[in-house]
């Protein structure tokens, strides 16, 4: 029971989440979200956001003219998102649902979305879960639709990996204390996308090779 108390003391609070995540990503998280909206989102898009958290990315997409369905497992996070959406008067453009990614098979019909976006979510999934979510994303995307994922990745080169590790260990501790989330940098993620049937169309890495953006497409011909 003592361990339970300790863990609960460290437990997350939504208002601290954004800050914690930005620390972990050394400020990359908001930068990459801006880039996603700028380069890949167009007005009229129908977007699904997996793990919308407190709604920052969903709001940016909606402000550019897209309609967004976002879901997150945390009700506290969604309450935060709802407040922000109300303040910006975007309730007509964004629909939120409280559910876990594992419920995607019953929640959305086939080929209903133009784009699937998700930032700093996949690194919280375990390996089988990542595969399941990619399968589901493939199913719900229209043929030709895009999946855009940004997350921590493991640097390819050894010295960068070591440097990354040195910076990351204290950050992981801080993030764990602030948000009680433990994440693992993605490894071989482009292979997973290809295995799920996507065609990789863009892949960028930034900041010591440790933060990655993946853009992949569901083929438009045999999209079933």
């Amino acid at each position: 029971m003592a361990s339970y108390v300790l863990m609960k003391i460290l437990e997350s609070a939504p208002q601290r989440y954004e800050r914690g995540i930005n620390i972990l990503s050394l400020g990359q998280s908001s930068k990459i979200q801006r880039e996603i909206v700028k380069s890949y989102i167009t007005a009229g898009d129908k977007i699904l956001e997996i793990g919308c958290g407190s709604g920052t990315l969903a709001i940016s997409c909606a402000e550019k003219g897209a309609t967004v369905v976002g879901f997150d497992v945390s009700p506290e996070m969604l309450a935060q998102a709802r407040r922000k959406i109300r303040e910006r008067d975007l309730s007509g453009k964004i629909r939120l649902r409280q559910m876990s990614a594992i419920e995607m098979d019953n929640a959305f019909s086939d080929k209903g979305f133009d784009k699937v976006v998700s930032t700093l979510v996949f690194s919280e999934f375990y390996a089988d879960e990542q595969k399941y979510v990619l399968r589901e994303a493939y199913r719900i995307l229209k043929p030709g639709g895009l999946i855009i994922i940004a997350d921590e990745v493991r640097p390819n080169i050894l010295w960068k990996r070591l440097l990354h590790l040195l910076i990351r260990i204290p950050l992981v501790v801080i993030t764990y204390i602030l948000t009680q989330k433990s994440t693992r940098a993605l490894k071989g993620f482009s292979r997973l996308l290809v295995e799920a049937g996507f065609e990789l169309i863009d892949q960028k890495r930034s900041l010591l090779d440790s933060f990655g953006l993946y853009v992949a497409q569901k083929p438009s011909q045999n999209g079933n």
Binding site: V5, M7, K8, I9, A13, D128, E129, S182
Partner: protein, 376 residues
């Protein structure tokens, strides 16, 4: 899976075991998912466990000679009981791993055998509804699984009970005390290196004595035992002062250090056992710390002092409360009026397993009296 160097793997796993043992309070996760032992077929049993490193290793040790599946559920790297009580081992952990592991397509017999101590956390009806799988509760301890399987998956009463044998006591004692020990060392290193060796010897000596001889120390619950030890030391110190004037300061300081260490080693001496509820929450509540961040000690103390009660009209005699109780509080009734009896209420540690599992919600908590210290 990529082929890996077996020696390197072994070193890594040994280091993880050591780390997990010394820092028991930190989560240490392994990859959730489906594992195989022996040559399982489509009728082989499916056991479930938490994804805490040490837990998976222990379960593996007892499953490796059976033909079976092991489903490692995502519990954030926390052990079964703590995860079940702390909201990390829930129906959702199971739904997630059943759906993503590809288990469903492999088997005809759709029953998950859960560790009994998962009962406070897992809503088995929800698992059934979302995945189609039934749940049943196996033994508390993985070491009973081979016998359980040989018995046709029937549990004996002793398989239902938590125990507190020497190995577990030392294991848990070291895990709880090690971080405190490191903190003491750090403080000593800064302020007073002179006492370093005495403190190290006293710490580990007392740790092994206190946890080793736990059942022999007078006092029915943990904190009674601590009080006894403190009183014993005060009496011995007084005796020493009266009888012998030489070397007084050194020996007296040793006594004071030992008295401090006994409290640190015995911190939550109830809560670390599987036998008693933690005396931590009522204590904090009492001294005025009602809550700390998201932890509401007042609420937790209230639950700890509550008593279970059964509504006989709602009871269907299904026996699940009897099955999941780790302390043997229940006895099945003999007639139609009294279906199940709370025979040994003083043993209850309010783990709420029976409340979670009762299919008709016939069991509930009623507020207890303002109990003295939250002990039975």
């Amino acid at each position: 899976m990529l082929p890996k160097n077996p020696v390197k793997m072994e070193i890594k796993e040994t280091l993880r075991t050591v780390f997990g043992t010394l820092f028991r309070l930190l989560p240490l996760s392994v990859e959730p998912g489906l594992r195989f032992f022996g040559h399982p077929d489509d009728k082989s049993p499916v056991f479930v466990t938490a994804n805490f490193d040490l837990t998976v290793k222990r379960v593996t040790k007892y499953l490796k000679d059976l033909d079976c599946y092991l489903l490692v559920a995502p519990t954030r790297g926390v052990n079964v009981w703590c995860a079940a009580k702390g909201g990390n081992f829930t129906a959702h952990s199971l739904i997630s791993v059943v759906k993503t592991s590809g288990l469903s397509s492999k088997l005809v017999n759709r029953t998950l055998i859960l560790p009994q101590l998962a009962a406070p956390g897992v809503d088995t009806e929800l698992v059934k509804k979302k995945t189609g799988w039934d749940c049943k509760f196996g033994p508390v301890y993985a070491k009973d699984i081979p016998e359980y399987a040989a018995n046709g998956f029937k549990k004996t009463d002793s398989m239902r009970r938590v125990r507190w044998p020497l190995t577990d006591r030392l294991d848990v004692g070291i895990g709880i005390f090690f971080p405190i020990f490191l903190a003491i060392l750090a403080i000593l290193a800064i302020f007073s290196r002179a006492w370093m060796s005495e403190i190290v010897i006293l710490s580990w000596g007392l740790l092994f004595l206190m946890y080793g001889f736990y059942p022999l120390i007078p006092g029915k619950a943990g904190w009674h035992k601590i009080l006894f030890l403190e009183a014993l030391m005060v009496v011995s110190l007084l005796g020493y002062i009266l009888l012998d004037g030489n070397q007084l300061n050194y020996i007296r300081n040793l006594f004071f250090m030992a008295m401090g260490l006994v409290i640190l080693i015995g911190i939550d001496f109830d809560g670390v056992t599987p036998l008693y509820k933690s005396a931590f929450d009522p204590l904090l509540d009492k001294i005025g710390i009602k809550r700390l961040g998201p932890v509401d000690f007042h609420e937790r103390a209230k639950i700890a002092s509550s008593k279970i009660t059964i509504n006989q009209n709602q009871c269907t005699s299904c026996g699940i409360c009897y099955d999941v109780c780790p302390r043997g509080v229940y006895e099945m009734g003999k007639d139609k009026q009294v279906k199940v009896v709370i025979k040994y209420p003083e043993l209850c540690e309010v783990c709420e397993a029976c409340i979670m599992q009762c299919p008709t919600r016939a069991i509930s908590l009623k507020p207890g009296f303002k109990s003295k210290q939250g002990n039975p």
